[in-house]
Symmetry: C2
Amino acid sequence: MKSFEAYKEILESYIQKEIPKISPKELYEPYLYLIDLPSKRIRPVMLMSVYECYRPLENHVLNCAMAIEFFHNFTLMHDDIMDASDTRRGLPTVHKKFNENSAILSGDVLLIITYQLLENLLETKYFKEIFKLYNHTAIQICSGQQLDMNFENEYTITELEYLMMIEYKTAVLLATSFKIGAILGEATPQDADAFYQFGLNIGMAFQIQDDLLDSFGSTEQTGKVVGGDICNNKKTLLMIKALQSNNRYHKELLNNWLQTKSFDEQKVTDIKQIFKDSGALDYTIQKRDAYCEKAISFLNKINIQHEDKEALIQFAKKSIQRVS
Amino acid sequence: MKSFEAYKEILESYIQKEIPKISPKELYEPYLYLIDLPSKRIRPVMLMSVYECYRPLENHVLNCAMAIEFFHNFTLMHDDIMDASDTRRGLPTVHKKFNENSAILSGDVLLIITYQLLENLLETKYFKEIFKLYNHTAIQICSGQQLDMNFENEYTITELEYLMMIEYKTAVLLATSFKIGAILGEATPQDADAFYQFGLNIGMAFQIQDDLLDSFGSTEQTGKVVGGDICNNKKTLLMIKALQSNNRYHKELLNNWLQTKSFDEQKVTDIKQIFKDSGALDYTIQKRDAYCEKAISFLNKINIQHEDKEALIQFAKKSIQRVS
């Protein structure tokens, strides 16, 4: 296995060279713009890394990695419209830079392009399995986005409902990236499934870390305003646990603040304090770490070289320590 | 071959029984609503009819017919947002009945469902060919929709540009429906290609007839307000040819009317008269009939039973005489 940075570079040049430009330009310019924004390319890099645990990279694997990355970008493009997000990584989102119609149609064509990229797998014996997994995952991701939108208008979300939402919306695509890398690399079915579980549990830890950073990170770390989720009354695990507090003072203060949605520094300060005092912060950190440990336990079952395993464990650990 | 009505009934019950309901309900209710609206189901019915020119219906063919119909509905759902259309067949469009986010996400999941339906073909030896054709067509349809949107803001559209737009936006999906029916039925590659051309040319005639009805049909016939395209300054073939008129009076009157977009009975009357006097109407009718004849000439090359061929010729002829 090469360094993750090396895979990212390989992928970036492959994308530059191979990305299809579907005419007219109004169709391809929006997706080129989005795909060109700075990105860690975590999903395709993991797919490529796992594949190289087994055998040297080939073009059909790169095409598949590109499909996963483009699928992720398709979801970003449409989710940003639905969530009315104006910026992504400090730059205008597609529907702001172009317009809403462009973001809808360019997103649609990008989704179809991902299927066209899968044509490169048609000659492998793994096409059927990967095609079914890909469709299944794509549908789960739509369900996750719908659940996320539904939760905005619901007051009581259980921890279980929240975990199911982030599993669908975030974790399954990372899990699928790992598993496809393993399937293409001809891992045993048991090892491919263990890679799926590794990715799924890292994905969960990753999203919980994201929620933690939103409230307890700093703007220097994340590049985002601290407390965005708090101001928007977002039902993260922190909030769900805080709302379960039996402390009457916590309850009253929370209920008061949840009446409004505007940005308010006092609200952020108050609610962060409740997160700490109610034990919600500790609980959330423990939950994140438990997912990370569970991920590593799955990885430990997999029959790959020691140094590859070490690199993936470092990736798992970094994903919960990351600051942006 | 059964009657087209019989295929429609078979398909309707199959859809009722087999349509996947992806939870949560906010995800599936919008596409169930749209698919339940009255529809002729022309594309899947043609796929099934062509298949039965060769062999008796099977479930994987019905699944494929369903995929084509759902793909068509996915495009309707997203196009209606982009075109800001409030009604479809006299009822609210999805983004009006539900909301825009629902129409985006439910459309996305419907597109993915179509790929999941194609999984039923994985065990046939035709999967590769059909998968590639399906992706290629899907991308062309997005290009067609983008061209159509682009044309709204352009004054000079050539006849060739217009024909390319309707080929992509409308004709290729009908062509693909015919061809997939033929491929699955194990027609020779030549006959499958001839079926594609048959469908493509009917599709062109069909769309031109649509444009003719918009200006020269009656509300009783079409259920639509007469002159919608005229009021919206739509660059149909009628308008493109009228704009090419050398008659100075036609030129001036057209240019005057094209300054405004609001509904105006005098505008409809004036422009319909120009369509007639400039020869644009005759030209458009000839063009429509030429596509129909070309379609039939492709059909005549195909090796199927005489009565099946006759039924398809009747379908072609009806598609240019249809009034709604």
